[in-house]
């Protein structure tokens, strides 16, 4: 099976890959792919989005290591870092790519502007404005992808890139996530694309690279920055910038066969976020668009190899995609989604919501009751004492991120509010918006009825997965139990 190298560039890249991680955790599957290799590229390494995403992916990896089995429904897809590939030589952080010598200098220092010969200096000073030249690299490119196009090109000389190239096999795929209106992403996407297509000796596997199957999602503006004194980002410019960049893409990215599949997504700029010039303040709330963007990776993985043919670095049949939902709504529910999307995410997200809800709200309490069958029966018990404490802690951590993610998407504009992850007890089955549990069921059951039913399903099924080690059993049991509930009780 093939690997999917996902280059997540800039803040948007981090957030989309976070969404992807959430989907993968929930059980969304990637076809034709057995491993996802995320490479986060962001010179702004202290970016809040980035650190959160890295944390989430590390947690995902640990949870998967401890819970994966053939029966597992959650954390199924393998996410691995570049380091884990090939000879295992240490490159850098697991997922992050650090650009050396970027920090603590200005762009003009980065390119050695003052030492340039006069003519070249003159030419560069025409290509780059004075604010460009004076830009501080520490805080990203402040929406100046033209700077990024130079700075990020350092990536090409990095060990990461060499490692990526060396591990890139003929059937592997590349996916690039970027936003068009920021600094880093907008620059990094064409740059990585061009570097792959432009790969030459002595880059390893350069012929594979040149003809690689490459997909990309370019995120167009979907939120506005709330103006404050701390930012130089003027979101009013987002659209103008986007149009200019799209024009460039049209000629030099999408229009010239450089890419096999390009996914466009964006929204009318209505959603306001607190503005910040990068660094850890840039920790934007999760958004449905990011979820949708993450789904483009699912879609790309779904494409057959034959559909992604490349000859001499040029895609023979480049494809372009846009995303839509069935019903326009200020608050999107599962029912508003297109059918395919619904099919992909409705059940997994519901299932994982049920899983995390029980784990977060009731697991500890239930562990106090030795008669709780699914916890204490069988060889491999699922009680806290039996499970790896580290796993529980990681799960708890991941679930917290998951809830936060859902909550943020629910609060964003457009709001994505298919689930209420905070429900517990007797309302727990009402978590899916617009899909309350069966009516007769309400009549029959009293207080705590949902939880009671949930526990009985678990207990009924627990025996079936008792051959699995506790961690793996937990994954398998909840995957199947929540699937059953979602299908039968919530009627998804």
């Amino acid at each position: 099976m093939a690997k999917l190298f996902v280059f997540a560039i800039g803040g948007t890249g981090s957030r989309v890959i976070k969404a992807l991680t959430m989907l993968l955790a929930s059980g969304v599957e990637l076809r034709n792919i057995d491993r996802v290799v995320p490479i986060i590229i962001d010179p702004d390494t202290s970016n809040g989005d980035l650190t959160r995403t890295v944390d989430i992916m590390k947690t995902y990896k640990e949870i998967r290591e401890k819970t994966f089995s053939e029966e597992a429904g959650f954390f199924k897809t393998r996410i691995c870092s570049l380091d884990e590939l090939g000879d295992g030589g240490f490159v850098s952080d697991n997922f992050k790519f650090d650009i050396d010598g970027v920090k603590e200098q200005l762009f003009k220092e980065f390119i050695g502007y003052s030492e340039l010969e006069r003519n070249t200096r003159a030419f560069i000073s025409l290509l780059f404005s004075k604010p460009n030249l004076d830009a501080d690299m520490d805080i990203g490119f402040m929406g100046n992808p033209n700077i990024g196009s130079v700075v990020l090109n350092k990536f090409k000389y990095s060990d990461s890139f060499v490692k990526f190239a060396g591990n890139f096999e003929q059937d592997d795929r590349v996916f690039i996530i970027s936003s068009i209106f920021g600094g880093t992403g907008a620059a990094g996407f064409p740059l990585i694309l061009k570097n792959i297509r432009d790969a030459k000796h002595p880059t390893p596997h350069h012929s594979f690279l040149r003809d690689a199957r490459i997909g990309a999602v370019t995120v167009l503006p979907y939120f506005a920055i709330r103006q404050n004194d701390e930012t130089t980002i003027d979101s009013n410019r987002f659209v103008s910038k986007t149009k200019a960049a799209l024009s460039y893409y049209a000629r030099n990215v999408s229009g010239n066969g450089a890419i096999n599949a390009l996914y466009y997504i964006g929204d009318q700029v209505t959603n306001e976020q607190e503005g910040a010039d990068g660094s850890n303040k840039q920790r934007n709330r999760a958004h449905f668009i990011e979820l949708a963007a993450a789904l483009s990776i699912v879609d790309f993985a779904d494409l057959r190899d034959e559909e992604l043919h490349v000859v001499n670095g040029v895609a023979t049949d480049p494809k372009f995609y846009e995303f839509g939902i069935q019903h326009e709504s200020a608050s999107i529910h599962f029912g508003d989604l297109g059918k395919e999307t619904y099919d992909i995410i409705a059940r997994p997200l519901t299932r994982y919501t049920l899983f995390q809800s029980l784990m977060e709200n009731h697991y500890e309490e239930l562990c106090g009751n030795k008669n709780e069958a699914w916890l204490y029966h069988g060889t491999n018990k699922l009680c806290a004492e039996a499970l790896d404490a580290r796993l529980l802690q990681r799960l708890s951590n991941f679930n917290k991120h998951f809830r936060e993610w859902l909550k943020e998407m629910a609060e964003s504009n457009v709001a994505f509010k298919p689930l209420d992850a905070t429900l517990e007890g007797r309302d727990i089955y009402n978590a899916v918006t617009g899909r309350p549990a069966k009516k007769d069921f309400f009549k029959r059951l009293a207080d705590g009825a949902h939880l009671h039913h949930y526990r009985s399903v678990l207990s009924k099924m627990a025996e079936k997965y008792d051959h699995l080690q506790s961690g793996k059993k937990l994954n398998a049991l909840f995957s199947h139990a929540t699937a059953d509930i979602a299908e039968k009780e919530i009627k998804l």
Partner: protein, 1176 residues
């Protein structure tokens, strides 16, 4: 209703659920459909294009957006980008005019194709970046550039992108300030930086500002250029599709005329190549290109388009400008919306208009429109830094006074027009003096508290004008002149003392007219601040104001560093001039002479010139009239024009001590060295005038010399105490110019000045030069060579000054008086002959006629000078008259207000000890203005007439002449004359001999002599005619004679000489050649004859008692007789030798002068001396 997560509006009815494939990528149609509410007001530069070449791409995107918006005029960020890009293009287009601000740099990509693959030439700028030994940083930068160049080559035409040409704004804030460059995507692109510091304007638009200007609103030449560029660019629409579309959109909006021009040009594939210049970058031959097509720029050699300017000056009629007519721009408040450089003048523009632009007119670029090379005039082009203040009022009838009015104080000063000559390249003198359509004066000079404000109103198109002004401050320094500051428009008043005298003050236009001008500049800058000044005067015709006329000669004559205290420079100019430029070490100014039109030449004049030994006289008449008049220059026909207002007011101002002692010399030197304003009977400058010429004594006779430059006739001679730098030369008629070229020059100069004065009189009185007749006289005794010298001189100068005239006559001096007496005084000797005795200074001419026919002519050198002169080689120390009267006269003078006149005498005596001159001084005193004004009773002639001491001398003189005439008549068988008439200035001595107005006594004496010679006791009646002005008779006679030439042959026929060897022989019919004179036989015969006369003279005392008739005491007679006889022989030989010297080389001819008077010249001199000694 479904929702698609997209920004664009295109295909809004599609139904997309989940990720669904769309038909293609997002193209410009999609992109353009993205609503961008903030885009129209946004000012922040867009930087979202992920390429180092983002800026190039962005500009193309901007064109794309603007094209699709179908509105070239909006204010979006894209319109800004397009406008900035066009600014860059227009700067390139006008690069030649922006050299001082912009420098073009070059960056080479080194892109080339090697084996079908793109490659970078290592010696290119990019190649050096990639391969250089420089930092890794540079290699990374190079690699990145290279990758984008290669990867994006099709969209940017990078494969042919060899060079980028960069505009470096030299006056920007950084070391390098690149404001734009060439682009392979859109031809040009601009920098994203804030370029508000770029001070370049096109029309009303400042480049790179917030006012966006679409192409169709830009300079037409520029628009046309871009279309021409497109026309010549292969596959332009493929390579520059967005720009191509923009040009199409632009074309639709152009005016009909420009459309047509472009349409026509589009038919000519060579238009671009032929109409525009290559742009050489870094080195000649290294020409800029875009994708291999030469980038051409505006050819500034071609004509600028004047029709875009309302500030084009309105040339005055008659002025022509080769090439572009410049603009003049308002420096003072001006808010009329006039067209300027394709835009409209903004009131704020005035601030940028300089007072001074150091560049050549042709190299200038317009203020606020630095890209436009177009000539414009500044205040400093038209107004001088210094304003020259003169210590007198300008004669505003002769020179334009610049409309200066004295508001406060006395009218004792004026200013030279502080105009630079350039002014007259465009405007006429008449225009300058005129008014503008609104009635305002073209120039005004306004007296202010601290100086003078000069306002110049320069006409521009459409009847408007631009007012320029400069304030000239009073110089605050004592010993120097404050520097003016033209850049700040601060002028300084320079106090200078000079004046001009222009001769003649006449202007005649006409191709066949030959002007003869003399212009005198008098420089009396002697103050500490100005004494180093040297002056230059240049003359210009209005039709060629840029080229000074070449004077025939420039003659410095006096120097202020010597005793005169003034410097004089004479310009001899034989061309008409309209403008005068005066330049000294510090200041310059223009003078506009106001010549008045002359009457139409309709009259014919005849002049008679009696060029005498001592005095010269001119008479003239209108050929239609019967009256003759002496030559005069009166108040109404002044021939000299002076810069200063002539008259007593000016003279008294110049005596003001604040001007420094001696400023009056400004005027005095003009009289001394040049010409008096008037010459007439009511003043002391008049004819007859002493035959003397004045010069500085050091002129170079081998150079060209000019009357009224090197020389002048000193009308003041003997009358005024002048002559500080004058050497006055008398005896011009007889001077030895064969051996002294200086004398020849002087003599000729005298004749020339006379003819110049006559010529100008003719012109002023409406006479026709070609019809002017001139009669000149010569004494019969004048040797042939000398006569020929004068004849040639008169003929040459007559031809020169009276072109086309053919009526130059010569006439024997002898005949003219006869002619006058016969025709005008009714002396008609029908019975017995009449004798006219013409006594001049040097010669006495006798003509005897019967009826109207002259029958005998004789001439001899025994005249007034023989009495008052110094005999043969004597001096004034032995001159009886000088010795007798010198102290008396000086004493009389020194006791009066005319005491200074004694100084004149001393000067003459010092310079020229010839007694004749001293005596002439004595005679002149009674006519002297000072003497007359002070009613001083001093008259030399009265002293001589009333005193008896010297009467014997005059009687002797007279008796000798009458005796000789009588002997001659007798020898020729003529009767005793019926009339004796007198003429010639020397005939005044007749009155001295006769004792005043009553000539009866003398007549009686005359009859006695005739009776003695003719041996008759009863002498028939005889009549005398002697007028008050005997000198004029010759001229009057000459004027009467219709055909003087007929006397030429007559003279030869009737010239008879009684050699003085006996009382019978006359030549002809006898012959006596000069070569025979020195024979002892001749000498002793003459001595005997003379001796006999002396004996007779004293013997007559018994017949006609000298005491009773003349009051002469006879007690010294024996001694005087001895004196007279003492050296007869040696005096005769002196006289003969003198004559021989004169006729040298032509001595083998018969003598034409009697020898009788030769001994008497010396004798009479000794007689006076002897008398003086006896009367001490």
């Amino acid at each position: 209703m479904s929702k698609i997560f997209r920004l664009h509006q295109k295909g809004g009815s599609e139904n997309i659920e989940g990720w669904q494939a769309i038909s293609g990528h997002l193209t410009k149609d999609h992109i353009n459909s993205i609503a961008d509410p903030s885009g129209s007001t946004a000012h922040t530069q867009i930087t979202s294009i992920p390429s180092p070449f983002a800026r190039m791409d962005l500009v193309r995107t901007a064109f794309e957006f603007v094209n699709s918006s179908k509105n070239l005029d909006a204010a979006t960020i894209y319109h800004r980008l397009v406008s900035d890009c066009l600014d860059v293009a227009e700067i390139f287009f006008n690069i030649e005019a922006l050299q001082d601000k912009i420098e073009v740099l070059q960056w080479s990509t080194g892109i080339r194709v090697v084996a079908g693959e793109l490659d970078i030439d290592p010696v290119s700028d990019l190649g050096k970046l990639l391969n250089g030994s420089g930092a890794a940083k540079h290699r990374l930068l190079g690699e990145t550039l290279k990758m984008y160049l290669f990867q994006d080559r099709s969209a940017f035409n990078f494969a042919d992108f060899k060079h980028c040409y960069l505009l470096n704004y030299k006056q920007g804030p950084e070391i390098i300030n690149i404001i734009g460059g060439t682009s392979p995507a859109t031809l040009f692109f601009s920098s994203a930086n804030d370029l508000s510091y770029v001070d370049i304007r096109f029309g009303n638009d400042k480049v790179f500002d917030d006012h966006f200007v679409p192409l169709y609103k830009r300079n037409k030449e520029f628009v046309k250029y871009l279309f021409a560029f497109r026309r010549s660019f292969p596959e332009f629409s493929v390579k520059f599709p967005d720009l191509n579309t923009y040009l199409d959109e632009t074309y639709a909006l152009l005016d009909r005329e420009l459309k047509e021009a472009i349409r026509v040009m589009d038919g000519d594939a060579n238009a671009y190549r032929l109409s525009y210049d290559l742009l050489a970058v870094v080195a000649e031959g290294n020409n800029a290109e875009i994708l291999g097509v030469p980038l051409r720029v505006k050819n500034y050699g071609a004509d600028a388009a004047a029709d875009e300017h309302d500030f084009v000056i309105q040339l005055d009629p008659g002025t022509k400008v080769e090439g572009v007519v410049p603009l003049v721009l308002p420096k003072e408040a001006f808010n009329e919306p006039l067209r300027y450089a394709g835009g409209v003048w903004q009131s704020s523009y005035s601030e940028s208009v300089p007072y001074l632009d150091d560049r050549q007119l042709a190299d200038r670029t317009l203020p606020n429109q630095a890209h436009i090379k177009y000539p414009y005039l500044t205040v400093s082009d038209l107004l001088q830094p210094y304003l020259i203040r003169l210590p007198f009022a300008i004669d505003d009838h002769k020179f334009f006074d610049g409309n200066y009015e004295v508001r406060q104080g006395e009218k004792d000063h004026s200013y030279v027009l502080p105009l630079k000559k350039t002014y007259f390249d465009y405007f006429s003198a008449a225009g300058l003096r005129g008014r503008l359509p609104d009635g305002k004066k073209r120039i005004e000079m306004i007296q202010m508290a601290g100086g003078v404000k000069v306002i110049l109103r320069v006409p521009i198109r459409g009847g408007r004008y631009i007012q320029l002004s400069r304030l000239y401050n009073v110089n605050q320094l004592q010993d120097s002149i404050q520097p003016a500051n033209e850049r700040e428009n601060v002028g300084i008043i320079a106090d200078n003392q000079f004046t001009l005298a222009v001769y003649p003050w006449i202007r005649v236009e006409g191709a066949d007219f030959n002007p003869h001008y003399r212009v005198l500049l008098v420089d009396r800058d002697v103050a500490v601040a100005t004494k180093q000044n040297n002056y230059t005067v240049s003359f210009y015709r209005e039709s060629r104001p840029f080229e000074p006329l070449r004077p025939l000669a420039v003659k410095p004559r006096s120097s202020k560093h010597q005793s005169t205290g003034v410097t004089t420079i004479y310009y001899v100019l034989e061309q008409n001039f309209d403008l005068v430029e005066v330049v000294n070490n510090t200041a310059s100014g223009m003078l506009v002479p106001l010549f008045e039109p002359l009457p139409m030449p309709a009259r014919a004049f005849r002049f008679a010139i009696d060029f005498g030994t001592s005095n010269t006289h001119i008479e003239y008449k209108d050929s239609r009239e019967d009256i003759t008049r002496p030559f005069e220059i009166g108040e109404k026909d002044v021939q000299v024009g002076t810069l200063h207002q002539p008259g007593e007011a000016t003279e008294s101002h110049l005596l003001n001590p604040k001007l420094g002692f001696g400023a009056i010399a400004l005027l005095g030197i003009i009289r001394e060295e040049f010409m008096p304003l008037q010459i007439n009977r009511s003043i002391q400058y008049k004819f007859p005038q002493r035959t003397v010429i004045n010069d500085n004594g050091s002129f170079n006779p081998d150079d060209s010399n000019f009357a009224l430059a090197d020389f002048n006739i000193p009308f003041w001679y003997l009358k005024e105490d002048r002559g500080l730098n004058s050497e006055v030369t008398p005896n011009l008629k007889w001077s030895d110019f064969r051996n002294d070229k200086r004398l020849e020059r002087r003599t000729k100069a005298f004749l020339k000045q006379l003819l110049l004065m006559i010529r100008n009189k003719v012109l002023l009185e409406g006479g026709d030069l070609a019809s002017t007749e001139i009669v000149w006289f010569y004494p019969s005794s004048m040797p042939v060579f000398r006569r020929r010298f004068f004849q040639n001189s008169w003929a040459t100068y007559y031809q020169r000054y009276f072109p086309g005239a053919t009526h130059l006559y010569r006439m024997s001096e002898s005949f003219a008086p006869f002619y006058h007496y016969y025709h005008k005084e009714n002396v008609r000797p029908h019975d017995r002959p009449a004798v006219n005795i013409d006594i001049g200074g040097g010669t006495t001419d006798i003509v005897i006629y019967q009826s109207e026919d002259p029958v005998l002519l004789t001439s001899f050198r025994f005249a007034a000078n023989s009495i008052f002169g110094d005999g043969y080689g004597s001096t004034s120390a032995a001159n009886g008259f000088v010795q007798h009267f010198e102290s008396k006269i000086k004493e009389s003078l020194s006791n009066t207000k005319a005491g200074t006149l004694t100084h004149i005498y001393d000067v003459i005596k010092q310079k020229n000890s010839k007694s004749v001159e001293l005596i002439e001084f004595f005679f002149s005193l009674e006519e002297n203005k000072t003497i007359k004004d002070n009613r001083i009773p001093l008259s030399f002639s009265r002293m001589l007439a009333e005193g008896t001491e010297f009467k014997l001398v005059f009687i002797f003189f007279y008796a000798a002449i009458i005796y000789h005439i009588a002997r001659l008549m007798k020898a020729r068988g003529l009767e005793i004359p019926e009339f004796i008439t007198f003429s010639g200035n020397g005939s005044k001595v007749i009155r001295l001999a006769g004792g005043g107005s009553d000539l009866g006594t003398l007549l009686g004496y005359t009859k006695v002599i005739f009776g003695e010679v003719f041996s008759v006791t009863a002498v028939p009646s005889m009549e005398f005619r002697l007028t008050a002005n005997p000198k004029e008779i010759t001229c009057k006679g000459g004027l009467e004679c219709a055909d003087p030439s007929r006397f030429d042959s007559l003279e030869e026929q009737i010239l008879v000489t009684l050699p003085g060897t006996d009382g019978v022989t006359t030549v002809p019919p006898a012959s006596l050649k000069y070569t025979d004179l020195q024979s002892e036989e001749v000498v002793s015969a003459v001595v005997g004859e003379v001796s006999a006369f002396i004996d007779l003279f004293f013997a007559l005392n018994s017949r006609y008692n000298y005491y009773s008739y003349f009051g002469i005491d006879g007690k010294g007679f024996a001694e005087y007789k001895e004196t007279l006889k003492s050296r007869l022989k040696s005096d005769l030989i002196d006289g003969i030798r003198q004559k021989m010297a004169e006729v040298e080389g032509n001595a083998d001819v018969d003598i034409t002068e009697t020898l009788f008077f030769y001994p008497l010249v010396g004798a009479i001199n000794r007689l006076a001396c002897s008398i003086q000694k006896n009367n001490q």
